[in-house]
């Protein structure tokens, strides 16, 4: 029999620490496979954030940094500017990237750093026990919004892909979701494209993943997929939000 699907060489085979059904694991796989498919594992440097994916460095079979909370794009900038031959990618959660790290991601994107950012939006601070994130959906209950996110006090969810797409500096910005196998398949193509843009030295690339947190959402993994589809998709439209080819130089 022929193996038509198996564990990617881009990752180690040990079990991961994520909660059952947490889609962080799927996202890992897509990145790991891409490292192999593009033949870049041996010149890749990944950057783990602070968040549930803090141990990402244990899972990817490539050189890794563990960065401070929110600053992975700055670490990536330092690494890539000094060794442009490396393929540098960040893996960040939404607390990490859209709260404390807002400035770093925007400026890395705006400088056009030739790095790839994998952004895992699960609408919550997973690791610290389910506090409201900037990406939390209106009305969503968290450990710090006992009555649900109140847009009058906390504002609306932050849409990082839209914000970054707004920048004039060329970049590749896309949003994908983990709520169904079909979306996962689409996501894989987009992750590949994102890395390809780096490999060809074209531009900054960024993929936002809608992801689940069954533990802190207080739902089963399957219910989480449905909740995500019903509640997150309306706020976070999927698709390629910006592609470098469409960039029109100096005009707005």
């Amino acid at each position: 029999m022929r193996k038509i699907f198996s564990h990617t060489e881009g990752m180690i085979t040990d079990p991961m620490h994520y909660c059952p059904g947490c889609t962080h694991g799927i996202i890992h796989r897509l990145v790991g496979e891409t490292l192999i498919e593009l033949g870049i594992r041996e010149r890749a440097v990944g950057i783990s954030p602070v968040g549930c994916s803090v141990f990402t460095y244990k899972y990817f079979r490539c050189d890794m940094f563990q960065a401070s909370h929110g600053r992975a794009p700055a670490v990536a900038t330092g690494a890539k500017r000094c060794r442009p031959e490396l393929v540098v990618f960040c893996y960040q959660g939404d607390g990490d990237l859209a709260a404390i790290g807002t400035s770093e991601i925007i400026h890395a994107a705006n400088r056009g750093e030739k790095i790839t950012c994998i952004f895992v939006n699960n609408a919550i601070y997973g690791m610290t026990g389910g506090q409201m994130a900037p990406t939390t959906i209106p009305g969503q209950r968290t450990s710090t919004t006992p009555g649900g996110r109140n847009v009058a006090e906390d504002g609306f969810p932050l849409k990082m892909s839209e914000i970054l797409s707004q920048l004039q500096t060329p970049g590749y910005i896309a949003r994908v979701s983990m709520h169904s196998p079909a979306e996962i398949i689409k996501a894989k193509q987009i992750v590949r494209k994102a890395f390809e843009y780096q490999v060809s030295n074209t531009c900054f690339s960024f993929v936002e993943f809608l992801s689940t947190c069954p533990t802190n959402w207080g739902m089963s993994p399957v219910d989480s997929l449905n909740w995500m589809k019903t509640n997150m998709l309306p706020y976070y439209p999927l698709g390629e939000h910006k592609i470098p080819e469409k960039h029109e130089g100096g005009s707005r």
Binding site: H17, C19, C52, V54, M127, T128, T215
Partner: protein, 204 residues
């Protein structure tokens, strides 16, 4: 001044922290001093989760105890980790439903109770913690059955549908503990210690 320490150990989700908390609350009701100090694994799920409850007639000195008087243990890894640390003459109460091995220490009382099976028998394996708590109290008689039940009832008011299960799990454990006490001739009480309390603040 009389004092004792109990370590409740298991994995996250096993409810050992809650068991410790109920004990601590009962002690306060009796006018005793307590501390409840939990320790978890890293920020992930499924790691160890244990709690040390220190009970004293005076101020609790160290809430951090490496060598407790008693250990109530849910599963094998926790037994391996903490079993050897129990003080000589102390108590090790083991949930034999999950721990399928015997633990060798002849300087302690090592007692086994199929607490998981008992809880399962009552309809929910999640009540294993209360069975173990009941057994510990049956063994130690550190508080009366009635007082403890009162505490359980009070502390579950917001989730009152769980009260009956928890009370019956506790009661079942208590019976088993009392039996074990008699069978094994266990004599556990607050230790008596000569302690001097020169405790003085300057400037308030």
């Amino acid at each position: 001044m009389k004092t004792t320490d109990v370590l409740f150990a298991g994995f996250g989700g096993h409810g050992m922290l809650m068991a410790g908390k109920l004990l601590a609350m009962a002690m306060i009701k009796q006018g005793r001093q307590v501390s409840w100090l939990p320790a978890y694994g890293a920020e992930m799920r499924g790691g160890t989760a244990n709690v040390t409850v220190c009970i004293s007639d005076g101020d609790v000195m160290s809430p951090y105890i490496e060598r407790p008087n008693s250990l109530v243990v849910m599963n094998t890894p926790s037994l391996h980790k903490f079993g050897p640390k129990v003080k000589t003459g102390g108590l090790v109460l083991v949930n034999s439903t999950l721990v399928r091995e015997s633990f060798e220490r002849d300087d302690c009382h090592v007692l086994y109770l199929p607490a998981g099976d008992i809880a399962m028998g009552l309809g929910n394996v999640k009540a294993t913690n209360l069975v173990l708590l009941g057994a510990f109290i049956g063994l130690s008689k550190i508080v009366t059955k009635e007082d403890m039940i009162e505490v359980i009832q009070e502390s579950f008011t917001s989730k009152s549908k769980f009260i009956p299960l928890n009370v019956s799990a506790f009661a079942a454990g208590y019976e088993e503990g009392t039996k074990l006490r008699l069978e094994n001739d266990v004599e556990l009480e607050l230790e008596d210690e000569e302690r001097d309390s020169t405790y003085a603040y300057s400037n308030g």
